[in-house]
């Protein structure tokens, strides 16, 4: 495990050091990988721990991006990012109670529907305001954005680790296994689920803000794109939900695959993606993390 930790620290260090020696292209790849790690790891704080599968995490990403686009130019970008994280968390807190009463497959489609509802409402608001996409000028330097994103990936990973190994995480695991039994032995299920929901929303908000600054263009249909939600879920599940390294491996694996195929053969990439998903569900239920664990002999 100590070797493992050292490896992860080296990886994060490499990511942060890329601007000093890497090309713009490499920086772009590292930014993407860090972004997906941060998102998948945040998702796992709720969905891997409690088994409540969210198919709507794009909504937090989108809320973050929207808040950030409204605030840049008014306050320094650092604060805009924090506000993006805060608003996403606040949004989760507001919708959390009614949403988390719904379980199983209903929760999956409810989160998806909610995310789409917000997307269409924002699209409506923007078109009513006569805006068809907003440009942002005066964005921070690319390496600054990269450092922030790597920082978020590290933060999300540490957060997910801390949750899993805490009293909080033990309570969430009990909720995943049997909610009624958990409540009977004193686990405050409603409060814990809500806290996990809020925790898993905050970093995606900040990620949305940063991604916006990088592209310097906001368009609601893109910022709330449901493909983001699907990608998060597939990365986390293919990576493996049993440990924190799962989402990291999943994000890196998919980023690699997409770099190899996406730009040249987008349709082939999607077909390979689909086949990969099927193969993983049927033959590698513990995900990449489980594979690595078996090879390394460690848990």
């Amino acid at each position: 495990m100590r070797l493992g930790s050292a490896l992860w620290i080296a990886l994060a260090g490499f990511g942060a050091a890329v601007p000093f020696f890497g090309s713009t292209y490499l920086m772009g790849v590292v930014f993407q990988v860090a972004m997906w790690i941060a998102l998948a790891q945040s998702w796992s704080m709720l969905s891997a721990t409690t088994g409540y599968l969210s198919l709507g995490h794009a909504v937090f990403y989108g809320v973050g991006a929207y808040v950030c686009v409204l605030l840049t130019g008014i306050i320094p970008f650092e604060f805009a990012i924090l506000a993006a994280a805060g608003s996403a968390a606040l949004f989760a807190a507001l919708i959390g109670l009614p949403v988390l009463r719904v379980r199983g497959p209903y929760f999956v489609i409810l989160t998806y529907g909610l995310s789409e509802l917000v997307r269409h409402v924002v699209m409506r608001i923007e078109s009513a305001l006569g805006s068809f996409g907003r440009m942002i000028f005066d964005v921070p330097a690319q390496e600054v954005l990269l450092w922030w994103m790597v920082g978020l990936a590290v933060l999300a990973t540490l957060g997910a680790y801390a949750i899993r190994h805490s009293r909080f995480g033990a309570g969430l695991a009990a909720i995943r296994e049997d909610e009624v039994a958990a409540q009977t032995i004193g686990v405050p299920v409603t409060r814990l689920k809500l806290l996990a929901f809020i925790a898993s929303a905050a970093i995606p908000g900040a990620v949305g803000g940063l991604a916006l600054l990088r592209t310097s263009y906001f368009e609601p249909a893109q910022a709330f794109d449901p493909v983001i939600s699907f990608t998060i879920v597939t990365m986390a599940l293919v990576g493996g939900t049993d440990s924190v390294r799962g989402p990291i491996l999943g994000a890196m694996g998919f980023a690699l695959l997409s770099e190899l195929l996406w730009s040249t053969l987008p349709q082939l990439y999607m077909i390979v993606l689909g086949l990969t998903l099927i193969v993983f569900v049927l033959f590698v239920p513990r995900g990449l993390s489980g594979l690595v664990g078996r090879i390394g002999g460690a848990r």
């Binding site: 009990a174 296994e177 039994a181 004193g186 686990v187």
Partner: protein, 239 residues
């Protein structure tokens, strides 16, 4: 001293009166038995007391506190915990991890990791599951899962434990072991038990007092000897 005071509790499901005007007091340190045929209202009474369903009328007072409107987890932290007739282990977690959650969340006070570990070890020893602590709870035998239910309730630090048919499905040897375990727990840990049981012999030998429910109504409330002589009970049970 009265630990649990149930005052005129009724529960109506649509047109069905699952409990009608049930009153009883459980004393500290007592083993209190609940008898009744299927559908008599025993499990409903448990669910009302533990806060899973609200009573239609009446109230439950535990250790001087009214439980009306409290959620099951709050009630557990006050020191009252139930088990389930159909066992509900956290199947994907190890036996020890099942108990650790109970230790960490079962009481009002936050525990340190070492305190929690101590409680887990105690609870494992109390029901004889120490050698299976690393096994996934879903892989225990039925008898093992029943004991896990009890151990988990113990690990919450509850003063009063309500056991819903913990002996159903066990063979006679296992029932004997379970009886010994419960008696020992009562004396060693100063616990109070309310037990629902279909195994009437076990209930008779174990309980200090017994209440018999029939169609939601209390038809007898007395010591095991007198219950054994009660004609109405005999009628309900043996036709």
């Amino acid at each position: 001293m009265t630990l649990l005071d149930i005052k005129g509790v009724s529960k109506r499901f649509g047109g069905l009166m699952a409990l009608s005007d049930v009153s009883l007091q459980v004393n500290k340190g007592e083993i209190f038995g609940l008898m009744g045929a299927n559908g008599a209202g025993k499990t409903t009474l448990f669910s009302v007391i533990a806060g899973h369903i609200p009573p239609t009328t009446g109230e439950v007072v535990f250790d001087g506190k009214r439980l009306a409107g409290l959620s099951p987890d709050r009630i557990c932290r006050l020191g009252l915990c139930r088990t389930f007739q159909i066992v509900r282990p956290f199947a994907g977690l190890s036996v020890a991890e099942n108990l650790r959650v109970a230790a960490l969340y079962g009481r009002a006070r936050k525990l340190s990791a070492t305190e929690a570990a101590q409680i887990v070890d105690d609870a494992l020893d109390a029901v004889g599951l120490a050698d299976r602590r690393h096994l996934d709870a879903g892989r225990l035998t039925l008898s093992g899962q029943k004991r896990l239910e009890i151990a988990r309730a113990l690990a919450t630090g509850a003063q009063l434990v309500m056991l819903d048919e913990v002996m159903a499905g066990l063979n006679p040897t296992e029932v004997g072991t379970m009886l010994d375990t419960l008696r020992r727990l009562r004396t060693e840990r100063d616990l109070t038990f309310v037990i629902v049981e279909h195994v009437i012999g076990a209930l008779m030998t174990l309980s200090d007092r017994i209440l018999v429910l029939d169609h939601g109504e209390c038809i007898a409330f007395s010591t095991p000897e007198e219950i054994g002589r009660n004609e109405r009970v005999a009628e309900v049970y043996f036709g």
